[in-house]
Amino acid sequence: MNIAIVKYNAGNIQSVLYALERIGATADVTDDHDKIASADKVIFPGVGEASTAMNYLKERGLDTVIKNLHQPVLGICLGMQLMCSHSDENNTPCLGIFEGKVKWFGALNNDNEERIRKDNFKVPQIGWNNIFNLRTSLFTNVPENDFCYFVHGYYADSADETIATANYIIPYSAALNRNNFYGVQFHPEKSATTGEQILKNFLNI
């Protein structure tokens, strides 16, 4: 199988490569349009800031390439957020593959002040949270309420395209799906055996 990892200026790409290696897969890290377009599977990772990443993708025409992919695509963390329609992180228009909008946990303060104080919520969320209402074959053999590792200050709202939910201050999208596009807010490459199962499932789509 030919797996392409989109190479750009926001990524913890080595971790994704090692995680694939642990499940017996190898991948090409590339920003070559043809290689990405012709891969069997495409992984779009990301750690960083939305507007800088979007500018980088646009300058290299990668935004158009990603939007037009027909094979299974998996966005991870910032990658997933960039696949949404808009991010409040520096008011950034994103790829618009998912309808969801990306908002900041910190902006929830007014409505949830009492709960936030009581539960000592920090922003960003860092750590292991359980995922539930799991849908699609991305979560085959993953039990409801299993744990994944999250590091994020921004989140995508729950919507029709939500295929996994997590709770932090409010319920939000832990994973999204539309057609051939999948996105996960957590880091499967760092989510122990649960994450490895999800990566395996993605490769089997």
């Binding site: 960003p124 750590g127 292991w128 359980n130 122990a192």
Partner: protein, 256 residues
């Protein structure tokens, strides 16, 4: 719901895991990669590797260590030890580390925190603080593995570091480290309630109730310990079972 993290810490000297008491009397505790992989399998939520090798070659040994660790560890890990520039950090992140911890270099040059946060994101910048409660009732910040005292107060320095972009605080109480008599609850609670970022409590964890105390009373987001795990005085699964019974949210393994 977000769970409280249990983080084994591996102090590394010359490629081996070691453990000292009150920063002194160092004992050997095994191969860091084997030990790290074992902890990951047992349900550790993250790992911290601190290189305490005191040589000029340290920068190279740290990146070699990360290279050895990353292929085998399927949970997040932090590395630290003598990191003093963005170039150091770039190499470690490229080799697969998720976060770096900075300590003395950030005290000497606070702008380093801002630079690392800007370049790599706050989420990978952990500020480690070694602090000691002195007779005057204040918690002072220490440098160089606890050898050099500064006039900085712990809470002031932590606040400044978070403003500069530190994404987490790893707080070690030198009074408690190695004693197994429990964590420093009061200073941990002060930091955790004051700061907007997670606080990892370190130093003094000896038995399971100490961990419950540091989460309930100390309001810590995570707790770190070393020797009790290395020398199998407390196993991670037993600890998590205990915490769960106390109503503290922890992650448990779906298998095993």
């Amino acid at each position: 719901m977000l769970t409280k993290r249990i983080i084994p810490c591996l102090d590394i000297r010359d490629g081996r895991t070691v453990k000292g008491i009150n920063f002194e009397n160092i004992r050997d505790a095994g191969d860091p990669v084997e030990l790290g992989a074992r902890y990951a399998m047992e349900g550790a939520d993250e790992l911290v590797f601190l290189d305490i090798t005191a040589t000029v070659e340290r920068r190279k040994t740290l990146s070699e260590l990360v290279n050895r660790i990353s292929p085998h560890i399927n949970i997040p890990f932090t590395v630290g030890g003598g990191i003093s520039s963005a170039a150091d950090v770039q190499v470690l992140l490229n080799n697969g580390a998720d976060k770096v911890s900075v300590n003395s270099a950030a005290v000497k040059n606070p702008a380093l925190i801002a630079e690392l946060a800007r370049e790599f994101g706050s989420q990978c910048v952990v500020l480690a603080i070694d602090t000691r409660l002195e007779e005057d009732g204040n918690w002072y910040v220490y440098l160089n593995g606890g050898r050099v005292k500064t006039e900085l107060h712990c809470l002031d320095w932590a606040k400044q570091a978070v403003d500069l972009g530190a994404g987490e605080i790893l707080l070690t109480s030198m009074n408690h480290d190695g004693t197994k008599q429990g964590f420093a609850l009061e200073i941990t609670r002060q930091l955790s309630e004051t700061l907007s970022v997670p606080v990892i409590a370190s130093g003094g964890g000896g038995i399971a109730t100490h961990f419950a105390d540091v989460f309930n009373t100390g309001k810590a987001d995570a707790a770190l310990a070393a020797s009790i795990f290395h020398f199998k005085e407390l196993s991670i699964p037993d600890l998590k079972r205990y915490l769960q019974k106390q109503g503290i949210p922890v992650r448990y393994q779906s298998t095993s």
